[in-house]
């Protein structure tokens, strides 16, 4: 029994990690006022890039680095369309998702079904991993988990307690006023979209070189969309995102736990998606008027407007 509980808790954290990475990136992006619906596609690009680079170099860290770069590069499309061209962010984000899913499918075609000989090995933190219960759950994880937790707190700190964080939040709340302070609003949005894309790329790498060690088309399976829901659940706060991401990690694990009880795998398969709807409903029901979303989220801003 003990072992089962430990293993369930451990797998929950494993399943929640890519969600957390993606959510941190989306929070950063949305705080600057840009809604990025391209996460699903960017994640997919990250996954395929990490896989290919890891396979050809034998080094998962290079794979991760390449995935981050790929995520940042492809996100420039959305930054350009939504910041420079002030186009509709919903449409441009959807386009980014399509491009990401499509290009990753093209790139990954020769690699479908090839198992990865190396992967990002889990790393036991000395001393801490020896603590009973807590050790095996929290301190025998893959580097992705540790990075996600550290990055969540780092981004929270940057957003809430540094000058650059104030600039980012101000851009999302009131770009006009921010601009009058002599701050380059467009540049900040560019940075946030692109760095956010790097996080999504990292989340994709997590899936292909740590979570499953293989590449198949559509392996992101809607996680990019769940990330966007989690951003709302987290109320745009990276530390709250930790709770949300691992809650959903738990739901992913629940699917496998319930399978032996004879419930159809397809009905279990819809759990994460139904849960996403329920969570959003619950948040909307509680404070439908005041979610405290960045005031200019999704609104195109033209320099020197009004």
């Amino acid at each position: 029994m003990e072992e089962i509980i430990i293993s369930v808790a451990q797998r929950t954290l494993v399943a929640g990690t890519p969600l957390l990475l993606g959510t941190i990136g989306e929070i950063l992006c949305e705080r600057s006022g840009i809604l990025n619906l391209g996460v699903e596609g960017v994640m997919s690009m990250g996954a395929v890039t990490a896989f290919i680079v890891t396979l050809s170099t034998g080094n998962p860290w290079l794979g991760l680095l390449a995935a981050i770069c790929a995520g940042m590069l492809i996100s420039i499309i959305h930054a350009f369309a939504s910041v420079t061209l002030q186009s509709n962010q919903v449409v441009s984000g959807l386009a980014l998702t399509m491009i990401g899913l499509g290009v990753s499918g093209l790139m990954g075609k020769p690699y479908v079904g090839i198992p990865l000989p190396v992967k990002m090995n889990s790393f036991d933190i000395p001393l801490l991993s020896d603590i009973p219960y807590i050790g095996p759950i929290f301190f025998k994880q893959s580097p992705f988990f540790y990075m996600a937790i550290v990055l969540a707190f780092a981004v929270w700190f940057i957003l809430m307690h540094t000058t650059i964080g104030i600039k980012i939040r101000a851009t999302g709340e009131n770009p006009k006023a921010t601009e009058t302070q002599g701050i380059n609003v467009s540049l900040i949005k560019y940075y946030c979209v692109i760095i956010g894309g790097g996080f999504s790329g990292m989340a994709g790498a997590n899936l292909s070189i740590s979570y499953s060690k293989s590449w198949i088309e559509g392996m992101t399976a809607g996680r990019g969309w769940i990330v966007i829901a989690l951003t709302i659940f987290a109320l745009w706060n990276p530390t709250r995102a930790i709770i949300g991401a691992f809650l959903f990690g738990g739901i992913f694990v629940l699917q496998y736990l319930l399978q032996p009880f004879g419930i159809s795998p397809n009905l279990l398969g819809l759990l994460p998606y139904a849960a996403t709807l329920l969570v959003l409903m619950a948040i909307g029901f509680r404070n439908s008027q005041k979610l405290n979303a960045p005031a200019w989220l999704g609104e195109p801003y033209q320099k020197g407007e009004r």
């Binding site: 596609g41 919903v90 399509m98 491009i99 899913l101 829901a229 996403t276 909307g284």
Partner: protein
């Protein structure tokens, strides 16, 4: 130093619109060529294959029309939703919902009813199925302020899982040798086609009627006006006393219902039984988003853009087979063309001039 000067255009002529559209598509094709090239595919060969596959032969043209049917039906419904800025990304799920309800009616009532009763009933229930699936996100948005992009997408996944559950479980056909398909629809429930093609013309006719009706609704009725006001200025809509709840629900009944019609049509006209979500719809619900966008949300233009993207789907199948490309290739097309259409809009609305200035 190059100076970029951007000014708003005061007037936009039809010629400018058309020219921008054509240039955006050409630029998009060039970008797609680049992606092909990077991935080791000869773009000239690929494009020749695509267009000869879709528009180059009688068979190709017939297939293109067949695939245009669902795109047109869905595209017209999405055009209405997007006019009100209700971002329905869930047409894929609404199509599947219509396929489920349509199939149920056909399988259960078909054997006892003549064709002229069962076919309209299947379409009716297909519409209801899609509308039901589309109204849920509308209500979630109004009552719980749930973002409709996420909810409609989640509803896609949920419907696909339910459909799969049905065909591997309770609805699995006794005549299908263990394959996860339902039994074939009875003959009375199968749509007629133009001989030698797969063009199920009853669905096509429904699409044309829907376009005319919705065209009138959008441009000539008070409801159409309210849809536009909601889309352009939500505060003005509230101030003008437009019933936001009612209008949004009706919009999604139409939008979801049209996708549901397409779903019932695909089963009754093309497949004749229910099978995996990916074979019932080759991503029509997603491709239709760009169909609606390329048509500038004009129901009548949806016919043309529907045919265009149906051609890409058919040609896409052709290059997938001959070049061994993955199914996602069509997504590359869709995504890149969409980006270039957006960019085109910018250059249509703004005048951008480059000046050489000596600093």
């Amino acid at each position: 130093m190059v100076r970029i000067k951007v000014t708003d255009r005061d007037t936009i002529t039809n010629q400018q619109s058309l020219l921008t559209l054509v240039l955006s598509l050409v630029a998009g094709m060039l970008a797609i060529s680049l992606v092909f090239l990077i991935n080791g595919v000869n773009p000239v060969f690929a494009f020749t294959k695509i267009f000869s596959g879709s528009f180059g032969s009688k068979f190709g043209i017939m297939e293109t029309i067949t695939k245009a049917i669902p795109l047109i039906l869905i595209g017209v419904g999405l055009a209405i939703a997007y006019r009100a800025k209700f971002w329905n990304i869930g047409a894929e799920g609404q199509l599947l919902a219509g396929a489920i309800t349509g199939t149920w009616v056909g399988l259960n009532w078909g054997p006892h009813l003549p064709s002229y009763i069962i076919v309209p009933l299947m379409f009716l229930f297909g519409f209801i199925g899609g509308a039901f699936w589309g109204v849920i996100p509308a209500i979630l948005k109004i009552r719980f302020s749930v973002n409709e992009v996420i909810s409609t997408l989640m509803m896609n996944y949920i419907c696909a899982e339910i459909l799969t559950f049905l065909i591997v479980g309770p609805w699995k056909g006794k005549t299908k040798y263990g394959y996860p398909y339902t039994d074939d629809l009875p003959d009375s429930a199968i749509l007629s086609v133009f001989s030698g093609t797969r063009i199920h013309y009853p669905t096509l006719a429904l699409g044309i009627i829907a376009i005319i009706l919705l065209g009138i609704v959008i441009y000539k009725t008070k409801f159409g006006y309210e849809v536009r006001v909601i889309g352009e200025n939500i505060d003005a809509a509230r101030y003008a006393g437009i019933n936001f709840f009612k209008t949004t629900v009706i919009i999604m009944i139409i939008s979801g219902g049209m996708a549901g019609l397409a779903g019932a049509g695909e089963v009754a006209g093309v497949h004749h039984y229910l099978s995996y979500p990916a074979s019932i719809s080759s991503g029509y619900g997603f491709t239709a988003i760009i169909v609606a966008w390329l048509a500038k949300l004009n129901p009548f233009f949806v016919i043309l853009s529907g045919l265009f993207f149906a051609g890409i789907l058919v040609g896409g199948d052709a290059i997938q087979i001959s070049l061994g490309l993955p199914a996602a290739t069509v997504q590359v097309f869709n995504g890149i063309l969409l980006v270039f259409l957006i960019m085109g809009d910018y250059f249509l609305k703004h005048k951008v001039t480059l000046k050489w200035a000596k600093d």
